[in-house]
């Protein structure tokens, strides 16, 4: 073709029209589902590196890879790649039955060898699996037909729960050994409902339906997940019709838009809380109790979060195994004043400490802390707010040097008390800043408790002790807002994972 000014102008106009024709998606029949996702996907191996323990990325992983055990939208386990699992009588061995007839995305058969290899690899510290300390409690994997057995080096009652939690994914042994870690990163395959067709880091991933998925072929045959990390941009994406589904927008925007499209706002396994560090004034139980009693959680949820939140008084949400509705910490301003007075504090002689918080990491985090500080001021607590980045929070918490009070959010998508109260409040844990020996003494025996009923009862007792002594201040369970175009129905998952294979046409 001759490159003349006229030709260039013609083709540019044609190209622009072609590109523009793909812009408004909302009014067209949905052939390709487009999701505006709130996080980037840095790496594909779901078992190593920081991404592996990032809860917000798990939904992306679960679209491509299967976990050992399936987790249903209500957090309950169900047969997945493992159809049966359990311990022997004396808890010295585990046995797992592997589903037959499953294939990897490259068409090769999925076998029990893949399960054994994935578990052994996870237990190998050289691979950099951050949850290695859990997986290494199993050893000596053996395969017999479609059964995998292993020795229990150290009994962990939650080991099978980890099989549908962080890093609990099955990877393809033969393929991984053939292509190596770099090859796998370039062309990842799993047994999950979708196959990776195209991936542009920081931009998008394009998925094709796995028609032979053991759980049934997904309804949408092509899904593009765009990584749109800015909340305002995600709102614009769904409002303009450039995306069909998005999540985690400001609640005001959710309320504004849900009338014209499908909106679902369901509680997820993510809570807001205030860590109390047992230093300085927090060693005084009256100060801690006053701080807990003075917070009107429901009003904060109603006013700041437009009602999207569930008030909690322990680190368990109603979906968790050890939730006990009888444990409550009321909003009691007079009680808070009385508690402070018992220690010689009051509005005229306030107790002073610092509270740390992120600003914008979670919805209205800073504003919530501002409101709490205002409520505290009324009863005689003068708290100074220090804003920090989430990375600093992690470092300070691991070093046990958080301020006397620190706002944080805690995720626990398996709903077990060990991964909420346990790790958050057990002194030796790098995530706990409460080091009281009495609490350590209560929690210690529960780690290896084999009697499930006794174990859950034990954790409830721990939660009661924590609430009575105000060792931490649970605030709320978060609600995740999801908006979708009129033609798409989204099934929310209580873990917070947005899963395209759970989306259907209206």
């Amino acid at each position: 073709m001759e490159l003349t000014r006229r030709n260039v102008m013609k083709m540019t106009a044609a190209g622009t029209a072609l590109a523009a024709s793909g812009l408004p998606l909302g009014a067209q029949a949905i052939d390709e589902l487009v999701i505006a996702y709130n996080v980037n996907l840095p790496a594909w191996d779901p078992t190593t590196g920081p991404s592996a323990v990032n809860p917000t990325i798990q939904g992306l992983y679960q679209s491509v890879f299967d976990q050992f055990i399936l987790q249903q939208p209500d957090l309950k386990p169900a047969p997945g790649l493992l159809t049966e699992w359990g311990w022997n009588e004396d808890r010295t061995k585990v046995s797992m039955t592997v589903r037959e007839g499953v294939t990897w995305h490259d068409g090769s058969p999925f076998t029990a060898e893949d399960v054994a290899w994935s578990l052994a690899r996870a237990a190998d510290p050289a691979t950099g699996n951050p949850i290695n300390f859990v997986w290494s409690t199993l050893a000596n994997f053996a395969v017999d037909g479609n059964t995998v057995t292993a020795d229990v080096k150290q009994f962990d009652p939650t080991i099978f729960k980890w099989m549908y939690f962080l890093t609990g994914y099955v990877l393809p042994k033969a393929y991984f050994e053939k292509v190596g870690a770099e090859g796998f990163e370039a062309a990842p395959i799993g047994t999950g409902p979708y196959m990776v067709e195209k991936f542009e880091r920081n931009a998008f991933v394009r998925l094709k339906a796995n028609e032979s998925y053991w759980g049934g072929a997904p309804e949408f045959k092509t899904v593009t997940i765009k990584f749109v990390t800015d909340a305002a941009a995600r709102v614009a994406e769904i409002e303009s019709g450039a995306s069909h589904v998005t999540l985690e927008m400001p609640y005001e925007e959710y309320d504004r838009l849900k009338g014209g499209m499908n909106g679902v706002a369901a509680p997820i396994s993510d809570i807001g809380m205030i860590f109390l560090n047992d230093i300085d004034v927090m060693l005084d139980p009256n100060v801690r109790k006053a701080a807990a009693l003075a917070i009107d959680k429901q009003t904060i949820i109603d006013r700041l979060l437009s009602g999207y939140g569930v008030k909690i008084d322990t680190l368990q949400t109603p979906e968790y195994d050890a939730y006990d509705a009888s444990i409550t910490v009321p909003y009691d301003e007079a009680g808070a004043i009385a508690a402070l007075a018992a220690s010689g504090f009051g509005p005229d002689n306030p107790v002073k400490f610092t509270i740390q918080t992120t600003k914008g990491f979670k919805p209205k985090d800073y504003e919530m802390v501002q409101a709490i500080v205002g409520l505290w001021r009324k009863v005689g607590i003068e708290a100074e707010i220090e804003v920090y980045e989430i990375a600093k929070h992690y470092e300070l918490r691991a070093a046990d040097t958080l301020a006397p009070a620190a706002f944080y959010n805690w995720g626990n998508s398996v709903g077990d008390p060990t991964t909420s109260t346990g790790f958050a409040m057990f002194g030796p844990s790098p995530h706990s800043v409460w080091d009281g020996e009495d609490l350590i003494g209560m929690i210690g025996p529960l780690w290896g408790e084999a009697d499930e009923a006794k174990r859950i009862a034990g954790w409830k007792a721990v939660d009661k002790f924590i609430a009575d002594n105000a060792l931490v201040i649970p605030l709320l369970q978060y609600v995740q807002p999801i908006l979708s175009a009129a033609g798409v129905v989204v099934t929310p998952h209580a873990s917070g994972a947005l899963l395209p294979h759970l989306m259907k046409r209206a």
Partner: protein, 362 residues
């Protein structure tokens, strides 16, 4: 110097003298270039040391961010050693610098990919965005300056001044939000996220999508890429266009009072001819310098704009790297930005010296 035993005429002497001066000027220019190269190298070393130390001293280490609940001291030590963070900062720097000298910038902690490949893969996207923004800014700013000069003393000039003031006082990310609202939501004619439509097959062999689509005569892809880049580039361009408009208009107004411009007018040339052909060539030099300097700031501005428009460039990657405390990736991106900044400044200085006869001849 003239050859020994030869007595040239005055005219020839002048010729030699001019030749000597030219050679001296070129030598001085070359000397200045060498000095700038050395200072650039020292600057880069300084940047490397500062960024290396600072990101390790500020709170928030990557190991703490990936610690699972229940990790023991031994687990923490294992992870720390795995990422090479168990050594002193000096030892880490020596290892890293040794690698850099061999072209190895280390592995990204979050993506587990070589840092050099990651940043070089993203650089074209950011460069294309910056160049497009620069072109837009020059076009918009230049048009405003010429229009304001042509209509000086009228309401049009006042409107241009007010518009430039507004454009300058609103930061680029806010322009981004305004543009998303107008051209993404209310009148959706441009894409508001990404760099290219995911469903398109890209036959490119490089990451310079915009330029390669033109080279391959794939104007359909070119239009799609431009449709994605237009809003972020415009958001970046608007404040710079205002600066260009203000400076160029001021320079033009000053030049318009010079004698040679008056002479051109008396010869009967049109006002447009006088402005564009007579005044502009002299008035544009300060603007050229400014554009060069501002280009580096423009690249810096891509960090926020790329995030806002989910544009897959270096800036977007930089924010992720900082959030995740991906130390090797932060180092790689900062060093690359520093190379671009110093490189552009070096080019601007050299081009200014080449264009300005007073500097060229020392």
């Amino acid at each position: 110097m003239p050859p020994h035993g030869y007595s040239p005429s005055g005219a020839v002497l002048n010729e030699w003298a001019r030749g000597d001066l030219a050679v001296t000027g070129q030598m001085q220019l070359f000397g200045r270039f060498l000095v700038r190269l050395m200072t650039t190298a020292i600057t880069l070393l300084g940047v490397a040391v500062i960024v290396f130390v600072v990101i390790r001293v500020v709170p928030g280490n990557p190991i703490a961010m990936m610690l699972p609940p229940g990790a023991t001291e031994a687990d923490i030590a294992t992870l720390t050693a795995l990422y090479g963070l168990d050594k002193s900062i000096f030892q880490q720097f020596v290892i890293w610098a040794g690698g850099v000298l061999q072209g190895d910038f280390g592995m990204s902690i979050t993506t587990r990919q070589p840092v050099l490949a990651l940043v070089m893969g993203r650089l074209p996207a950011t460069l294309e965005l910056s160049v497009m923004a620069l072109v837009m800014a020059v076009f918009l700013g230049g048009a405003a300056a010429l229009g304001g000069t042509l209509r000086r003393g009228t309401r049009t000039e006042g409107a241009i001044d007010v518009g430039a003031g507004m454009a300058l006082s609103v930061p680029d990310f806010l322009w981004g939000l305004v543009l998303i609202l107008i051209f993404g939501v209310l009148w959706p004619v441009f894409h508001i996220s990404g760099r290219v439509t995911p469903s398109l097959d890209l036959p490119f062999s490089s990451n310079f999508y915009l330029f390669e689509s033109l080279l391959r005569f794939r104007f359909d892809l070119w239009a799609d890429i431009v449709s994605h880049m237009f809003l972020p580039a415009l958001a970046l361009a608007i404040p710079l266009a205002a600066i260009i408009a203000q400076l160029l208009k001021q320079s033009l107004k000053e030049t318009m009072h010079l004698d040679y411009v008056t002479l051109a007018r008396t010869k009967g040339y049109s006002e447009i001819h006088v402005i564009t052909r007579e005044a502009l060539p002299n008035a544009i030099l300060p603007t050229l310098t400014l554009v060069g300097v501002q280009f580096t700031f423009l690249i810096g501005g891509t960090v926020i704009i790329e995030r806002l428009f989910s544009y897959e460039g270096l800036g977007n990657m930089a924010i992720d790297a900082v959030i995740n405390r991906d130390l090797p990736l932060i180092q790689g991106i900062v060093i690359l930005f520093a190379v671009i900044f110093t490189g552009v400044n070096l080019l601007v200085d050299l081009s200014y010296a080449l264009l300005n006869p007073r500097l060229r001849h020392g």
